[in-house]
Amino acid sequence: MVPLFILWLGYEEREATGTSLAAIAIIAAAAVVVQLTYGNVHVGDGLLVGIPAVGGVLAGTWLQQRVPRRKLQVLFALLLLASAVKLVVA
């Protein structure tokens, strides 16, 4: 969604990240309601990771205003690639 905000609507990158979060909140809320009807949501586990994540997002938005992001982007990308490998082989 962030690249689309930048490419189609001409947003600056940080505006794109902020605005995309608002859209994500709505989309995730709608999707979780549907998933609840399938009985797939582990509410306890969701809260167990979701509550510390609120602390994480406060740290992340604070950091975004202050640190160069290139190294973080590369680290994040490597983490994703490792997760992908684990999903495929597990």
Binding site: M1, V2, P3, F5, Y11, R14, E15, A16, T17, G18, T19, S20, L21, A23, I24, A25, I26, I27, A28, A30, A31, V32, V34, Q35, Y38, N40, H42, V43, D45, G46, L48, V49, G50, I51, P52, A53, V54, G55, G56, V57, A59, G60, T61, W62, L63, P68, R69, Q73, V74, F76, A77, L80, L81, S83, A84, V85, K86, L87, V88, A90
Partner: protein
């Protein structure tokens, strides 16, 4: 194990705040690998965790002048039927296909990150 869950949550939240994603790309593998959920349950549970993260993230970003609320709401509202459709599809196809599809998504996001220029 619950310490692992706290760590997943914090890292996913920090990434959500920095990169404007919901955190699902961390929540889902974390729930599968560390908490042993199956793929579809992990995706469903991740959605629940994403809601507070995205709300708080958007609120913080608005404090930095980075939120265009009207556009965000419009894009989010337009996406609702597709999100619902996605849930139906995920529940209808084999789990292994979902795992492989999610792995492909992670690789795609990773490549996008590695190719993007730093703006700083």
């Amino acid at each position: 194990m619950s310490l692992g869950a706290v760590a997943i949550g914090f890292v996913a939240g920090a990434i959500a705040g920095m990169f404007g994603v919901g955190g699902g790309v961390i929540f889902v593998p974390g729930l599968v690998i560390l908490l042993g959920l199956d793929q579809v349950d992990a995706e469903a549970t991740s959605l629940l965790a994403i809601v507070p993260v995205a709300i708080v993230g958007a609120y913080r970003q608005s404090g930095y002048g980075n939120l265009r609320l009207r556009d965000g709401i419009m894009v989010g509202a337009l996406a609702i039927p597709f999100a619902a459709l996605g849930v139906v599809v995920v529940n209808a196809v084999p789990e292994r296909a979902i795992e492989l599809g999610f792995a492909a998504l992670l690789v795609y996001v990773a490549i996008g990150l590695l190719r993007s220029d730093s703006h700083e």
